[in-house]
């Protein structure tokens, strides 16, 4: 947690912190090194001191030793009191017996019984020196001097206190200096950060960073500005491209609209102009039958009838194709549509046209949907029309329009108990002009279901059919949204 906070500190504080720490560490290291050097120096000096005193005392004790005057020797030794660090000193005669001794505060026990080897006793924690007493290189005894390290420890404490003080002072100084001196170095970075924030907050890519100096920061600022310039360029290019795209889209839309218009004109033409000759063909064929029928034998009459039928069929085809193309072109206006109402009106029409037939018609509930009224009418016209048609041979025809839930979705269906169809050809059901029954059994152009599918698809739904030959068919469709 604290590591994250550390990372989030301003670079100013990071720099100040680093500099302060570095200078403290450098000073500490120097201090430590200096300390060890001086420690050994002080220690050495203390040894020299003790040695000097020992030598002096030894030299001054030669007579006392020579002339066997312990009192005089003690006298000489007692001069060591002048150096408070010296705990005790004693003279040994040439036989190693204690001749005279000096105690700082009466520590008789510590006195070595016999003199050890000449020189400092390195095993001792104190400074202990055995020094030979000589008269002109003839040894007459040994002097033992023992000094505590109080001088050293005093020095240590003083040194630590002073060093500590210096380090702290230095830290404070470094901190202050760093805080002040970081400014010219970090100002450009901070400035850049501020500019960057402004750019991103206001999305203003015209801003530029201010370059101060030709160092890496200056380079950074240059690159930053370069990037901004590129962004601006890119924005401009993007805008231009967008405009161009819009223009192209407009042009394309215009083209499409024109194409659509042409198509509409074509459809219109189909509606009118192609039908007129058909009327002629059918009409005059009929006239022929009426006026000259007697002059024709049955075959001749049959031929004329065929002509008529073919003509009517073509008219129907034209109508269907017109519908199909309209369905794709026309704008959908969505509103609340009650399928039940539409269905009832269609069934009425069907009944009117074919009053002889008795068909049971069941309309379910919840048939309000959102869609284009005109197109949905076409859907129901086709589906119900088909159901009517294919139940033609079923004496107890039943057609049902309802709604059910399939996979959690509202699914509408038109069901009949008519001829049904073979499911193996189900994939062809909605193809244009594909028919699953011969024209002899059931008339139809094969365009109806294609139209229905297109309409359903335009509403965002889908349609499928299930059927059993001889039992009937059900068409399921969905109308989302």
């Amino acid at each position: 947690m604290s590591m994250k906070r550390l990372r989030d500190l301003s670079i100013k504080w990071k720099m100040v912190f680093t500099i302060t720490v570095v200078s403290m560490v450098a000073l500490l290291v120097a201090g430590v090194l200096l300390f060890s050097y001086e420690y050994s120096a002080v220690h050495s000096m203390m040894e020299h001191d003790v040695e000097a005193i020992a030598n002096l005392s030894a030299a001054n004790s030669t007579a006392a030793l020579s002339f066997d005057d312990p009192k005089a020797a003690e006298d000489t030794l007692s001069a060591m009191a002048a150096k408070p660090a010296i705990e005790l000193a004693c003279l040994y005669d040439n036989e190693g017996r204690v001749f005279a001794a000096y105690y700082r505060n009466g520590q008789k026990e510590q006195l070595p019984e016999h003199p050890g080897p000449d020189g400092f006793d390195r095993n001792s924690r104190k400074l202990s020196l055995f020094s030979p007493v000589k008269i002109k290189s003839k040894r007459i005894g040994t002097l033992y001097v023992q000094s505590d390290l109080s001088q050293l420890t005093d020095w240590l404490k003083a040194y630590a206190a002073v060093s500590g003080g210096i380090v702290l002072m230095n830290a404070a100084l470094a901190f202050v200096l760093a805080s002040v001196l970081q400014r010219p170095f970090l100002a450009p970075i901070v400035g850049l950060a501020v500019t960057a924030r402004k750019v991103s907050t206001n999305k203003d890519y015209t801003l530029r960073g201010e370059k101060q100096g030709d160092d890496e920061l200056g380079f950074l600022v240059d690159q930053f500005n370069e990037m901004l310039a590129q962004i601006q360029e890119r924005d401009k290019a993007l805008e231009e491209a967008r405009l161009e795209l819009e223009q192209r889209v407009e042009a394309r839309t215009r083209d499409l609209k024109e194409a659509n218009k042409e198509l509409e004109a074509f459809s219109y033409s189909v509606a009118h102009d192609l039908r007129a000759p058909l009327r002629g063909i059918d009409g005059f064929s009929q006239v022929m039958l009426e006026d000259y029928g007697t002059q024709l034998d049955a075959t001749g009459q049959d031929y004329l009838q065929r002509i008529r039928k073919a003509t009517q069929r073509m008219a129907q085809l034209l109508d269907d194709m017109l519908n199909l193309s309209k369905v794709t072109r026309v704008n959908i206006t969505l509103k609340e549509v009650d399928l039940a109402d539409i269905a009832k009106s269609i069934i009425e029409d069907l009944r009117r046209h074919d009053a002889k037939r008795e068909v049971e018609f069941i309309v379910g509930k919840d048939l309000c949907v959102k869609g284009d009224a005109g197109l949905l009418r076409i859907v129901l016209e086709n589906l119900l029309g088909n159901a009517w048609k294919f139940t033609g041979k079923q004496p107890q025809a039943r057609i049902e329009l309802g709604m059910t839930q399939i996979d959690g979705k509202d699914t509408y269906f038109v069901r009949d108990n008519g001829a049904g169809f073979d499911m193996t050809y189900a994939s062809k059901l909605f193809g244009v002009f594909h028919r699953l029954h011969s024209a002899a059994d059931f008339p139809g152009t094969g365009v109806g279901l294609a139209t229905v599918q297109r309409i359903i698809n335009r509403h965002g739904g889908n349609i499928r059919a299930e059927a059993t030959v001889g039992k009937g068919a059900t068409f399921y469709f969905t109308l989302p949204g």
Binding site: A271, H272, G280, V287
Partner: protein, 146 residues
């Protein structure tokens, strides 16, 4: 049928012949005047041009095809309705198209009825019969404008 005249506005000779035949088949004995384009139709109705000086009532019903040369059907209708003389004359649009826009415009311009001509001649004959029944017998013709 009643005494009114039928004005048939139709440019296609086949359609003309078949229409006349259909009328005859329905034993409609009323006079039928055929105008072969918009101009003729207007002239007749307004007693102008070729029919200048015509005396006679307005027809009991005008069977108007939309697809006419010179002045097209809807334009004829418009002018008819614009003229106080022919403002009220019953007009039945008889045409191939059942395009929604034609319906809207037709009714919008003041057509009284709109029939789509079936290709099946027998159906056409039936339709004509119904037309005759309705417009010549049942319907009250508007009074002559003063």
């Amino acid at each position: 049928m009643g005494m009114g005249t039928i004005l048939l506005v139709e440019d296609n000779p086949d359609d003309e012949m078949l229409s006349l035949r259909a009328i005859k088949k329905n034993k409609i004995s009323n006079d039928v005047v055929v105008a072969r384009d918009g101009r003729e139709a207007l002239d007749y109705l307004h007693c102008e041009g070729a029919y200048a000086g015509r005396e006679g009532a307005l027809p009991a019903v005008v069977l108007l095809d939309l697809n006419l040369p010179k002045i097209d059907g809807l334009e004829v209708l418009k002018r008819l309705r614009a003229d106080p003389r022919t403002k009220l004359v019953p007009v039945v649009i008889l045409t191939s198209s059942k395009e929604e826009q034609d319906l809207i415009r037709g009714y919008g311009l003041g057509a009284n009825s709109y029939i789509r001509k079936p290709v099946d001649f027998n159906q056409f004959v039936d339709a004509v019969g119904q037309l005759g029944m309705y417009w010549l017998l049942l319907n009250e013709t508007p009074p002559k404008a003063n």
